[in-house]
Amino acid sequence: MTLHKRHVGLGIYFGFLLLPIYWMLNMSLRHNADILGSFQLLPLVPTLDNYATIVSDPSWYSGYLNSLAYVGINTLLSLAVALPAAYAFSRYRFLGDRHLFFWLLTNRMAPPAVFLLPFFQLYSTFGLIDTHLAVALAHCLFNVPLAVWILEGFMSGVPREIDEMAHLDGYRFPRFFVTIFLPTIRAGVGVTAFFCFMFSWVELLLARTLTTVHAKPIAAVMTRTVSAAGLDWGLLSAAGVLTILPGALVIWFVRHHLAKGLALGRV
C-alpha cells in the first residue's frame, strides 16, 4: 500500500517536471498568430515551420555547433587535468593538500558575474575572444573543481590494494593509471564527463560575454534574435526545444552508465 502511494507521488512530481517542457513543445509547433489567438491544450494545426526556419538559417544552426564545440573541449580539458589531481587527493597526503582541495572548491563558488570584466580583458590580451577555446577555458572555472571533487569521491571508493598489487606486479605509475585504474573507475569518469557537459552546456553569462560572432552559443542567438523579431513565441519555443535535445541525447546514452556510475558500480 505504501508502495502504491509512493508511486502516485512520484507520478505527480514527474508530471510537474514534464508539463512546462510539454507546453514549450506545444508552442513550438504553432504559428505566433495562432498562439496569441487561441488557447489549445493540443496544437490543432501543428506546423514545423518554426523548426524549418532554424534548420535552414546558418545564423541559427551555427549557434548549436558552437555550443557543442566548446562544451566538448571543456569536458576533455577538465577530465584531463582533474584525473591526476583527484588521484593525488584520494591517495596521498602532501603539504597543504586540505587547503588546496578547499581552495579549488572555492572557485566553484565564485559568482560568474564577478569574472565577467576580468575575463574579457584577459582573453582579449591573449587574442582568444570569440573562440571556442575561450569559453571552454572560462568554464574550467567551475568544471575543473567539480571534476576533481566527483572523481576524488569515486577514487576513494577503490581499495588501495589494487594500487599495491599493481605496484608489486611491476607496473609503473602511468601504465597502472591508464590500463588498470581508469577502467576501474570508468563509471566515475562517465559521470564526471556528464556533469562537465551539463554545467558547460547550460551556462550563458560567460559564454555570451566572451563571444561575438564566430563562437556564439545558441542560447545567446536565441536572446538576440528574439528581441529583434519582437518576441515570436513559436520560434523561441522551437529554439528552446532544440537546446533540450542534445542534453536528452546525452542522458539517453549514459543512462545505464549513469545509474551504474552514480551507484559506484553497483546495480
Binding site: 512546462p20 575543473v144 539517453w252
Partner: protein
C-alpha cells in the same frame, strides 16, 4: 581510507593549478586591482584605498538585495533537499522503470538556464501559458510580471522544478551504494521503514547530501540567468538578487570600482557560508 605521505603528489596536482590559475586566479587579481582604484578611462586611474568598500557596506539597496538573497536561498534549500531525498526513496530500484525515471529526472538539469527562464516565462503567462491560465481559472489574480509575491513564488517554483533533480539523483546514487547486508541486518533487528531511514539510509547519505547541499547553496546564491529572463529583477526590485545587482552595477552603469569591491565581499560571504557548512558536515570524517 588511510592516505600515505607523498610530497611528490604535488606534480599530479600541477595541471589543475595551471588551468585554475589562468581561469580564476588572474581574473580575481584583476578584480582586486579594480576594487581599490577609481578608473576614468584607459590609463587614467587613481588609487582610492578602501573607499569603495565603505561605500558598498553602507549601500541600503544592497542590504535589501542581500536579505532577499538569503530568503531565497533558505527557501530553496529547505524545499529541495527533503523533496529530493523523498523522490530518491520513492524511485524504483530495479527494472526498466529505473532508466526512465533517471532520464526524466535529469532532463531539467540539461536545459540551458535562459531556456529554463523562457519555459517558465511562457508557462506562467495567463494568456498563453498553461500554468498561468490554470491559476487564473482557480480565481486567483496571478501575474508574475506585476505582482511581487507572484514573481517571487514563480521563481521559487521554477528553481524547485529546475534543481530538485540534482538532489534526487545524488541521493539515489547514495542509496544504491548501501550494501544489501545493511538492510538484511535491519530486517533481522525488526526495524520499520522509519528506523531503516533514520539509522541506515540517512547516515549513509551524509556524503552525497553534503555535496548536494553545498552545490545548491553555491548555485542559488549566485543565481542570475533565470530571474534575468523571467522577471528581469522586477517588479520593482522584488526579485533583484545579488548577481543581478552586481551585473547592473558593473555592466549597466559601468561602476567598476564599487562593482569590484562588491564582488570581493560577495565572494567572501559565499566562501564563509560554504566553509561553515563544509566544516560542520565533514567534522566526523577522517580527513
Amino acid at each position: 581510507m588511510k592516505r600515505t605521505e607523498n610530497p611528490r603528489a604535488w606534480w599530479l596536482v600541477l595541471p589543475v593549478l595551471a588551468v585554475v590559475a589562468f581561469s580564476a586566479l588572474i581574473p580575481l587579481m584583476t578584480v582586486v586591482n579594480y576594487s581599490v582604484q577609481d578608473i576614468f578611462g584607459p590609463g587614467q586611474r587613481v588609487f582610492v584605498g578602501a573607499e569603495w568598500f565603505r561605500e558598498i557596506l553602507h549601500d541600503e539597496r544592497l542590504h535589501s538585495a542581500f536579505a532577499r538573497q538569503l530568503g531565497f536561498t533558505a527557501s530553496v534549500l529547505s524545499i529541495e533537499l527533503p523533496l529530493g531525498v523523498a523522490i530518491a526513496l520513492a524511485m524504483p530500484t530495479r527494472g526498466a522503470g529505473v532508466s526512465a525515471c533517471l532520464v526524466i529526472l535529469a532532463l531539467p538539469l540539461l536545459i540551458p538556464w535562459n531556456v529554463v527562464g523562457t519555459i517558465w516565462q511562457i508557462f506562467g503567462r495567463a494568456d498563453i501559458g498553461l500554468g498561468g491560465a490554470f491559476v487564473h481559472a482557480l480565481g486567483i489574480d496571478y501575474n508574475y510580471a506585476q505582482n511581487p509575491a507572484d514573481a517571487w513564488l514563480t521563481l521559487l517554483v521554477m528553481d524547485v522544478w529546475h534543481w530538485t533533480s540534482l538532489v534526487a539523483l545524488l541521493a539515489y546514487a547514495g542509496l544504491r551504494a548501501i550494501p544489501e547486508a545493511y538492510y538484511q541486518a535491519a530486517q533481522i533487528d525488526g526495524a520499520g521503514a522509519f528506523g531503516v531511514f533514520h539509522h541506515i539510509q540517512l547516515p549513509r547519505l551524509r556524503g552525497v547530501l553534503t555535496i548536494a547541499l553545498l552545490l545548491r547553496l553555491m548555485d542559488s546564491f549566485v543565481i542570475y540567468t533565470e530571474p534575468f529572463v523571467l522577471t528581469g529583477g522586477g517588479p520593482g526590485n522584488a526579485t533583484t538578487f545579488l548577481s543581478q545587482y552586481l551585473a547592473r552595477m558593473a555592466v549597466g552603469q559601468f561602476d567598476l570600482g564599487p562593482a569590484a569591491a562588491f564582488s570581493l565581499i560577495y565572494f567572501l560571504v559565499i566562501l564563509a557560508l560554504c566553509f561553515v557548512f563544509f566544516t560542520v558536515l565533514t567534522a566526523g570524517e577522517e580527513r
